[in-house]
Symmetry: C2
Subunit: 516 residues, 2 copies
């Protein structure tokens, strides 16, 4: 008799909980009320509210990058999904598992084209696999398949579950917990081939690391290969999750295609391990899309494959025994120096506590921080792999919820930060230890550069206005306070170091507006 | 020779300017830099920056509802479009013309699946017609077709224009200015049929008005019909643009399907004029989707047809000569009374200056304001037709830019306001006369109601948290200040009246947090 009270929503949440889902980042609406109620009835999943869906999806991305398994979301119909798509795009590009649950109208109501009706499946298909729940009987099995797929791909699986299938009684699936598929291993032929190419190319080889090649183990293995062959090591430009500190100094592949092509174009072999084939971020007239010369690209491990294991096998085959020396010390800026990308990067890197997580979005401080952080204390860095801005703060939030014992720093450019500033509120509500450092230059800096690259060295007033965040300058201290986060402003190095050190000691959430 | 310097972006902007586009709400990225440069080279279109794409698309919606012709947007690739989709959904449901311009990678770069690549056309197709620019030669003609279509549908036309087709020389289209298609007129048979049904049904008839039936002329004509036949008048629940004040008191069709069905279910004839067929907003177990009894629905004018003209013809056929009496006076709350939906609605309605525009989002104060505003000074009300929240502030912004001489009031619930609070910044930058009234009850009120409707009278802590905006309460005064908008808080009637009157006298932007 008790079973008759089990709803489809209960089954969905139970299936998720049994599969290891522990957190649900949600902004529900009317059609998700049974799911909301089920989150109280079924134990094991913590519900976290975002004031905007892109906070929820970005947090789910950040969570899974750190936790190693998916969080779920609950979003409201097509518009709710649309609001969260940009950070689902980023999760897709980062190969992050996300179980993206979207409610739909009651199945029998869809035909009437009520105001909030739209093509949810078409939206969801742009970021991953789509799992529509076609009947109450299949809520459990479809949810289970979606969760398995999210971890197998890895990527975004969207479950679309009509309100009636949530609300009414549904049978529990008989199956046990989800079996987690390990990443596929690459063949030993593939490893041997890469080894041969590396040995032939010697100092003319590049190893381009991405995905799970950027674990601590993966980087140490890559360092052993580089030490024996003379190969140059690069990380992909925007790694989803990379260990840094106490490791060989692995720079990121440059962003602009001219410099990236210069880094790769002379190589006799470019061995990619867990990274996508290197291509230009944008297409520029007269600059090729492909950054490698024909015949030089060697794929050791694809993005979804076990890149770490491939590197270990490669290192056992051709690497030295001793790990490469870690990077040296960080240059420290003068206390009285003004804040700029370089000085901020150095201060942040030098103050970083061991085991910190740093979510980096935006180039102003992001690139200089990466240069300085090789010599920082061991930490994990998360970057915006997909390029849809508004990811840094939600990702930091999700990471903090995944690892409550680790300090999280969001090193965030102001333009992207303003996309999802609502994440500050959830940081406050959930008492997350996130310290937000806003690079406040009140400019879409990269666009000013791009205007010039596109032949507009002297842009006019409208282009100036469209690339400026001044007039008025957003007051981040006040904004943070409005969302319940204490904050201060720093204008020079000593101030930033003092404020950052104090925030690290006290714990977040805390925001520092860095006047650049 | 000079013509060789004309780029595809120039052609697009020139075509838009020649077609009457005067404003471009933009948040561009690298792939839209030629368009940004063209906005300076080509005169006639004012560029307005939004800090988030949903501000841009919502502003384009609000602009066109007031201006009567489309604004354009400039959005960045798939993620930029995704961010703006929710308010494009609303524009689609409101039948608002929007020329939605989205940049794409250089056409030759698309195949390489660079990080920001995604299926833009699939996203755009969920909100309207898609116009991909396949070559430089067709930039002008495709843009022109998209603009014509946006006004003909009316709705959202998305132009997808790759960066190379923007950047390089393109031929100007030879064609002259766009010809604006008038809304199709309904046949006189259709009018006669509706007249016959209304006369037969007498007091058992309902006229349900939407779209252009809600102009001043349309409502007066509807009043003449009601006066002669005894028919009851309703407006659709969420009109895109309705005139109010000095007119017959036309209530909105109730939101919840039980009450809406009660309003329509006894009718012998429900004549819809410019409105969609009345269906339940959401499907609830045991409650039919269709709100009318079989055989009672009569379609006088579809949403895209000339509903105003149809009503005029109907009134000439069967209406009285004299216009119906306008609504009486507004009940005024006690000065010392606390703020609640009713008292806020009455204060706002009673203070409203003639010719104001009121953008209403959210039920807390929205419904009571509508009840009170029939007796207010003549004004225009804009509501959220599509139901994707986060529309009220951007719509107010766009309306203010369309009508700089009219005061704009945004009567906004806090939950929806937090979706697109970034609109406050553009209100400040553009010195718009918008007065924002935030109904701050720190709750997703409608969801609390829906939880109960879904059989959860005593919801648990997680459901409580997911429907609460408290802990911490967002401080709207501080938030507004952070975005450069002065603000204050009001806790009772006299305070609200004083603050609102002063803000009206001084002019916006200004925000009042109403503590409910």
């Amino acid at each position: 008799m008790a079973d008759r009270a089990v709803t489809g929503a209960d089954v969905l949440v139970r299936t998720a909980a049994r599969s290891g889902v522990r957190v649900c980042f949600a902004n529900p609406g009317t059609t998700e009320m049974p799911l909301v109620a089920a989150l109280d009835r079924v134990p094991g999943i913590r519900a976290v509210l975002g004031l905007h869906e892109n906070v929820c999806t970005g947090a789910a991305d950040g969570y899974a990058r750190i936790a190693g398994h998916a969080a779920m979301t609950v979003l409201h119909l097509g518009p709710g999904l649309a609001n969260g798509l940009a950070n689902l795009h980023n999760a897709r590009r980062a190969n992050t598992p996300v179980v993206n649950v979207v409610g739909d109208h009651a199945s029998w109501h869809l035909a009437y084209d009520a105001p909030l009706t739209s093509d949810i499946a078409a939206l969801a298909a742009t970021v991953g696999a789509v799992y529509p729940v076609a009947s109450r009987a299949e809520v459990g099995t479809v949810t289970r398949e979606a969760i398995e797929d999210a971890h197998r791909t890895p990527g975004v699986s969207t479950v679309i579950v009509p309100a009636d299938h949530q609300q009414l009684h549904a049978p529990e699936p008989l199956t046990g917990p989800v079996t987690r598929t390990a990443r596929p291993r690459v063949s030993s032929e593939c490893v041997k081939n890469a080894a041969a190419r590396l040995l032939t190319a010697g100092r003319g080889a590049v190893l381009l690391l991405g995905g799970t090649a950027l674990t601590r183990t993966g980087q140490v293995a890559a360092g052993r290969v580089a030490a024996s062959t003379g190969a140059t090591l690069y990380s992909e430009t925007f790694p989803a999750c990379a260990e840094r500190g106490g490791l060989p100094d692995i720079d990121r592949l440059p962003y602009f295609p001219e410099t990236a092509a210069a880094a790769l174009g002379d190589a006799e072999a470019v061995v990619v391990v867990g990274a996508a084939d290197p291509v230009a971020y944008f297409g520029y007239d007269g600059i090729p899309s492909v950054l490698t010369r024909p015949g030089t690209l060697v794929r050791l491990a694809l993005r979804h494959e076990d890149a770490e294991e491939a590197l270990l096998e490669l290192a056992d085959l051709i690497g030295t025994d001793a790990p490469a020396a870690p990077a040296a010390t960080i240059d420290l800026p003068d206390d009285a120096a003004a804040l700029d990308g370089r000085s901020v990067g150095q201060v942040v890197a030098s103050c970083l506590p061991e085991d910190a997580i740093v979510s980096v979005e935006g180039g102003t401080c992001g690139y200089p921080f990466y240069s300085a952080s090789a010599a920082a204390a061991p930490h994990t860095v998360l970057t915006n792999t997909g390029g849809a801005i508004g990811q840094g703060l939600p990702t930091a939030l999700g990471a903090a919820i995944a690892a409550p014992d680790r300090p999280v720093i969001a090193l965030q450019s102001d333009g992207g930060g303003l996309y999802t500033a609502q994440a500050l509120w959830t940081m406050s509500r959930e008492h997350t230890n996130v310290i937000v450092l806003i690079a406040a230059n009140h400019t879409y800096g990269v666009l000013r550069t791009e205007l010039k690259r596109h032949g507009n060295p002297e842009f006019g007033p409208q282009a100036g206005a469209l690339t400026s965040l001044a007039d008025p300058c957003v007051d981040w201290v006040t904004l943070a306070n409005g969302f319940g986060v204490p904050a201060c402003r720093a204008t020079h190095v000593a101030q930033l170091r003092a404020a950052f050190s104090k925030a690290l000691a006290v714990g977040g959430p805390y925001l520092i507006e860095m006047a650049l």
